[in-house]
Symmetry: D2
Subunit: 346 residues, 4 copies
């Protein structure tokens, strides 16, 4: 079978294994207070162009989302997200488990707009007695979104402004950040994110690491006592240096971006094949996720040879699917997939 169902089916980049071999017999202080985490945090600060960022390493995305959100909000405050947002639909109520409502906003392309946020706040604040509703305090966005789309710089600036205006925190889920920042139409970089977001994370699990997400806290209000929160939520890794090691391997010299770029290039080849075959797309895209709409009969054939994610019916005889490339996707797999897609469209 060809693996295109997600971007976390393979282990990790060889460079990480090499370093694991090198360091695995050494002794380290526990819980992320070691030199490898220190170096990786410094590297991230350098890439973000700011010395004052707090950096923490966690194991997985849901853990990161719930810890950041629970750390930022007062009990009666809520986070808003697109209705397709990962925290709203795919985390088994992990945010609600910390006592906070997710306010879902309608969205076709997976993005939240500044206008939506403004309307939400105006609606809340104009209540005669707002205390009967949760108080929106954080905007959660994903970059790329769960539909593979990217916010433009202009859109991010607008979100940043509206958040400032209403005293909201802007939190960017970067589980697939590498694929976003290396997309050909991306017009922001890490330094922009560190300026515009209050907190965001650089995803490792889906971009070359065995596991790991690097949380970058830019707003000092959110930085205090964050390690207490990690521990309280069960997210503190005893051998935290494993996380520092991986992020240093990925970020030290740009490996993270090179492998993400490659995955995007492969996705472009697949998109090209689909376009050439006039296959419609659920949403357009430029990152490692592709959302073609195919006929049930084409899918019946494809599913014999390819693992993909079903996105539901598009009409009575077609379904949208998701195809994912990843840092580990080989060229032969892409070629074989393209051949199968060419055959499928006929």
């Amino acid at each position: 079978m060809l693996y295109f169902q997600n971007d976390y089916h393979a282990g990790c980049h060889a460079e990480i294994l090499r370093r694991l071999d090198r360091f695995s017999q050494r002794d380290f202080p526990g819980y992320g207070q070691d030199e490898l985490c220190g170096k990786a945090a410094d590297t991230i600060r350098r890439l973000c162009g700011r010395e004052d960022l707090a950096v923490h390493f966690l194991v997985g995305g849901t853990q990161t989302n719930l810890t950041v959100i629970a750390a930022a909000l007062r009990p009666y405050q809520a986070v808003t997200a697109a209705q397709s947002g990962h925290i709203h639909v795919h985390e088994t109520g992990a945010v609600e488990a910390t006592g906070h409502k997710v306010l879902a906003l309608p969205s076709r392309d997976g993005k939240v707009t500044a206008a939506q946020v403004e309307q939400l706040m105006e609606s809340h604040q104009s209540q005669e007695d707002p205390a009967h509703e949760v108080q929106p305090k954080m905007v959660y966005i994903s970059y790329p979104t769960e539909l593979g789309t990217l916010y433009t710089r202009q859109e991010l600036e607008a979100l940043h402004r509206v958040c400032r205006q209403y005293g909201l925190y802007l939190f960017l889920d970067g589980a697939r950040l590498g694929y976003g920042l290396t997309a050909k139409d991306c017009d922001v970089n890490l330094q922009d994110l560190a300026r515009m977001c209050d907190v965001f994370y650089i995803g490792g699990t889906k971009v070359g690491a065995m596991f790991g997400e690097a949380v970058v806290i830019a707003n000092p209000e959110l930085a205090g006592d964050f390690r207490y929160m990690i521990k309280r939520q069960g997210g503190m890794l005893a051998k935290g240096w494993l996380l520092g090691l991986q992020f240093e391997a990925l970020l030290e010299d740009g490996l993270y971006f090179r492998i993400a770029q490659k995955a995007n290039d492969q996705a472009d080849r697949i998109r090209k094949t689909l376009e050439d075959g006039a296959v419609p797309m659920l949403v357009p895209g430029s990152t490692n996720q592709i959302f073609p709409i195919l006929s049930d009969s084409a899918l019946k054939a494809l599913s014999q040879k390819v693992l993909y994610t079903d996105m539901g019916p598009a009409d009575e005889t077609h379904r949208a699917i998701r195809l994912c490339t990843s840092w580990s996707t080989g060229d032969e797999a892409v070629e074989e997939l393209c051949r199968l897609l060419e055959a499928a469209k006929k």
Copy 2:
């Protein structure tokens, strides 16, 4: 000013005050384990036609909703409700505060349909790995709904069936139950509710009591240790007999239903006036809530003399409002309101 903005602006029915006077110098065991609560619970069992119901008295609606839901669900389970459901929009995240997601369903008239519930369950259960989503386990409905509409017996039977089929609990919020059960097009009664719902409550706060909601638990799975839950959530009233006293006063000889019926009749007079004036309605209705759509200029005049609830813009020059009668609404107030509405429409 004329008070039509809600149904809890007045104190309580005179019969309750009379009984308070009578019992206020007597001594009672605490926490609802007294004879007044016992008698009121017996009365409710009699009205519901079942000896095996567990009955508990709580002070308010949000407290009741969160306690029932938190008692019924396992941590990863969710309650589904109409997007206009009180628990979703007007309880400041009280359900999420207990760790549970509210799954909102689109609805124009405030109702949830059996087909929506079926689709939700099919969608969840057909996931390749459902553990990434909350597990729906309870359906929350209001009777009447927050938009004053009523489920027909047929609709309730369908919800009851679909809940049985998928192992869901059916929970009916009866904060305004009296107004629902005495509406002229109501085709269910307490005995039906006790058969079709796993748990529901008879609202006192909005129907003649100073405060109080009587929870009726029909499904024995939900009845165990419920007093622990009430105490844990801060809802156990030291002088619980105050609740038993009020419900016995209201239910013993049908006072509850008589005063609700009167409020519905008064609402009908107001609806008639609006219909005569060809004023459009946001939703039709037969209970104590009325949702006319009026021009901004008409509202400007009306708001000088009447307290009502704004429901938002209907178009660029009109807004929907809510007018509420209640057990305490006097005939003169209704007449005066009708006069003002007649004037307004012109």
Copy 3:
């Protein structure tokens, strides 16, 4: 039977009923935003000698405790209390239900000492990596304590100082505050409490009201958005004016203190009888709670005529009990109890 088992077995003071009669047919805005609550809050500010206090009215003690604590603490922070503290032993985990640990301190007399708080903080802060423990942030004390004892002014000042020193909030549970402030050896007043505590409450349920606790927030850090918290925790009473009415009735002209004083005087008579009979006490006291140690045979006789609370075995043939007077205790009941105690000791 003689009711001495608690101080909430009777309804409410007649003055409250009088006012209920007067106001029960009037219309009020909901949720505590009415003139009666406004007046009662003003009275409390006047009694406390400070214009800048935030005052909120809640229905019961457990609700008040959990709402105040959850509002004040960040998720990883804890409240410390005597091991006999109400929040630790008699609230069914209501504080833990909001996600916070109660750190219990050993205590024989129900009090927390400044030295204990200092030791707790030094122990926490001297950890190599304190993030593995909850962070103490609030000190919870009761006045009088659950054992009827009173902090001296000196003890309160010491607690106040140590809290300031370590950045802790001092929270005083005043469920029985009236009995404390009118005890003959009390050397503090409301103005002292408003200066020394960050937040405290004036208990109504046990001192003449039907129900109600008046929360006084002196530290502005804790005041923001408190109504959101009340609503989120299910504690917002629709007819909030019922609470304002009661506190105004009790506090306006000192009724609260007069009826509490009377209960203390009656307790003193009972204590005198016990002392005359050389009955040992579990703890000494000057408020409405009395803790004699009686033989099993004496208790066998007493329990036929008196309701009291068992406090457990003192030795193999004796048990400690609690006798409570209250604002509603009549002189005849006290005389009868004294006669029975005199007989019992023989």
Copy 4:
């Protein structure tokens, strides 16, 4: 420096790295539903002698504790533990964060006794109105305990019996299980644990793995929907096969027990040295943790060369410390430590 401060300062056993190299370029299904997890679970079932055990793999101990406890308890239920229990003192309120109280029992040696559990339950159930207290429902024990002590088979049987009698779950934290099961005075095995406990876990993080704890659920009441709970609490590892790989490497042919045994043998050498020097111990022991009491002057010298954990003052001039061997401790380090201890005692 010599590392004796904990048993998780080194990476992992070489066999795990070998397997990582072998599997890291392969593709696996996500979230623990892969063949490596399947094989490791089968191995655990074989070692436990039961086909019907549910086995799940989590990343760390605190995550495991909170997930198991939150999955097992109803909201108002509590877990009881020794006052030195990890969940009570070293998890930053992670259990309380899920809404449950930890009921601490006094203990000198880190153990809970059946008699304590019985007394707790009798005390709770004999309350006149037990709903005012949390309901104990689970007993948490550690094997070995946080003080390195071991329950005898007889003690475990007694706990098992008392739990059955009162309907409590018995949960055994096996973060250091390998060191316990290979101690020379251990008289239980995995099959005994699977029979006596409702749920327990086999710790990997401290016994040769990079990370990982294998949860074994013996009571089918606790097994349902456990993956929902893992996801909800943020503990589901995307590349779950990393956990299966490690446990299979450790358990397949007994490596886990061999390396734990070696660490115990080394600890015995250290204990022998201390005994020869007549150094008193805080608690006796036979596992990899050693708790000598040394003079402040001896410690001043020792701390220049050895990392250890301070356990607090024993008297005015002595402190207890903890020395830990681990699977990674080399013989030279042990010899050097023994030399230093011999010098220290003089």
